[in-house]
């Protein structure tokens, strides 16, 4: 899993580099003089150390059921969506029923184990969830 995650991070890094290379430049066709990097940094209007939205993702905590959550939940949405919830067993059961109905890959005989994992980690008395703070997006 770790190796796959690393591969994934490398792919994302490549995409980011590709995005930087493909970024629209000034429309002038004349050769541009390279400006010092300092000038560009001065125009940054947000904290460039913040992650790009959607590139820093929550991870499921270790424990029995983590593999089921990794396999069943993150095809459609990141783990962030799950780990921010604080739900009762009844609510988690309803969620798993809904999600498996929509195609989530949870073996029938593992369903209770996944629900127990979710209730244990993301029950109503779970700790406060701290979301990722990310760069603005959408201009």
């Amino acid at each position: 899993m770790r190796r796959r995650s690393l591969t994934r991070i490398r792919i994302l890094a490549l995409i980011l580099v590709a995005g930087l290379l493909a970024a629209p430049r000034n429309s002038s066709a004349a050769p541009r003089k390279k400006k010092p990097a300092k000038a560009k940094v001065a125009l940054v209007n947000f904290d460039a150390h913040l992650p790009v939205l959607g590139t820093k993702l929550a991870e499921f905590p270790a424990g029995p059921g983590k593999a089921l959550a990794d396999a069943g939940c993150v095809f459609c949405h990141s783990a962030d969506m799950v780990v921010q919830q604080r739900l009762t067993e009844k609510q988690w059961t309803a969620e798993i029923t809904k999600m498996t109905g929509w195609g989530a890959d949870v073996p029938v005989d593992k369903r209770d184990e996944l629900i127990a994992y979710l209730v244990k980690n993301f029950g109503t008395d779970g700790p406060r969830y701290e979301p990722v703070v990310a760069r603005p997006v959408g201009r």
């Binding site: 899993m1 796959r4 995650s5 591969t7 994934r8 994302l12 995409i15 980011l16 590709a18 995005g19 930087l20 493909a22 970024a23 560009k40 125009l43 940054v44 209007n45 947000f46 904290d47 460039a48 913040l50 790009v52 939205l53 959607g54 590139t55 820093k56 993702l57 929550a58 990794d70 396999a71 069943g72 993150v74 095809f75 459609c76 949405h77 990141s78 783990a79 962030d80 969506m81 921010q84 919830q85 604080r86 739900l87 009762t88 609510q91 309803a94 969620e95 929509w102 195609g103 890959d105 109503t124 979301p131 990722v132 703070v133 990310a134 760069r135 603005p136 997006v137 959408g138 201009r139």
Partner: protein
Amino acid sequence: MTGFSSIDRRRFLGFAALAAVAPGRLIAAAADGIPPGRRRMIQRNGYAIDAETPLDALMTYLTPNDLFFVRHHWNPQYAAHRGWGLVVDGEVERPLRLTVEDLRRMPRASATCVLQCAGNGRALFSPGIAGVQWQYGAVGNAKWTGVRVRDVLERAGLKATAKHLHTFGSDKPPLKVPPFWRSVELEKILADGIIADEMNGEPLPSVHGGPARLVVPGWAGDHWMKWLERISPQPEAQKGFYMETAYRYPKAPGAPGVAIPVAETQPVTEIFVKSTITDAPARARAGAAAVVRGFAFSGAPDVARVEISEDEGATWKPAELDPQHDPWAWRLWSYRWIPAVPGKATLWARATDSRGAVQPKDGVWNPSGYLHNGWHSAAVEVEA
């Protein structure tokens, strides 16, 4: 289906689109009044993207495009402007397919108004409700420009048999997840609806539904179909999960935590009157003036007043409304407060709209956590 190792095409395209637009922001001008330190988003979901705006970045009349909240149901495949077309079919005399250029040749129309996710404030309900745990910032105010839905439907020869406008976006759900197909009552969309291809004077960003999205002033975001590719007037409302199960609100309030049969619910339409505090001092001094600020809006076209209470609603004093306003836009407001005595103080804000609806102390709990509009408060430490 194998967890993180599987980057499917939608996710790949979603990340690629984000990466491709990221450099643009490196040189974006900060001319909109939001200083760099406040320019960030609270990620509620990494993919599909859900992100809300921190309240201290919601202090301007127009919310900058890059700070506007994002709500995707699943990873969209962003449509290119070239080749994009809007199909108009259904109960019309002349089915159409309009390109971006076609839209730009039609009479233009603008609306500066609030867009609020139906689920904004879900995290504030008790007992807790499953779904994106939005707090205060799944809302923004923008100038949307495009063409009137009415003009497009008249061009297609709208038939009198049509009562609902079915709307379709180009985003496709994964697996067996039902499609996000919706409809809006024709009466509302003919009166106020816009097919917008600009946001705050810029081409509508893909992340906000470009090339074109629906704008339904005064109604919750579930009606504002993004990546619009087809509209179809029909005699009946749209069916499916996102009409018949989701985005529904109880006809009458029930007990918190208790499920409500679908038959006793109705579609979410107008947003509720609401005021939110965006700026209050953590500390103030007794006898010295401090300023509290915020915004207020409603599904009614205007806000009549915003009031502040220091005693949990026993008495209220009026805040000052900023004169800048458009129908269904938010009102910025400010309140000059002189704390009388030292100690811990709490200020509550409530709004009343132009129809007389008053913001309630608590949002009405509902099974999906929609339209929370309970009073917002700020705690202040008053020093001697």
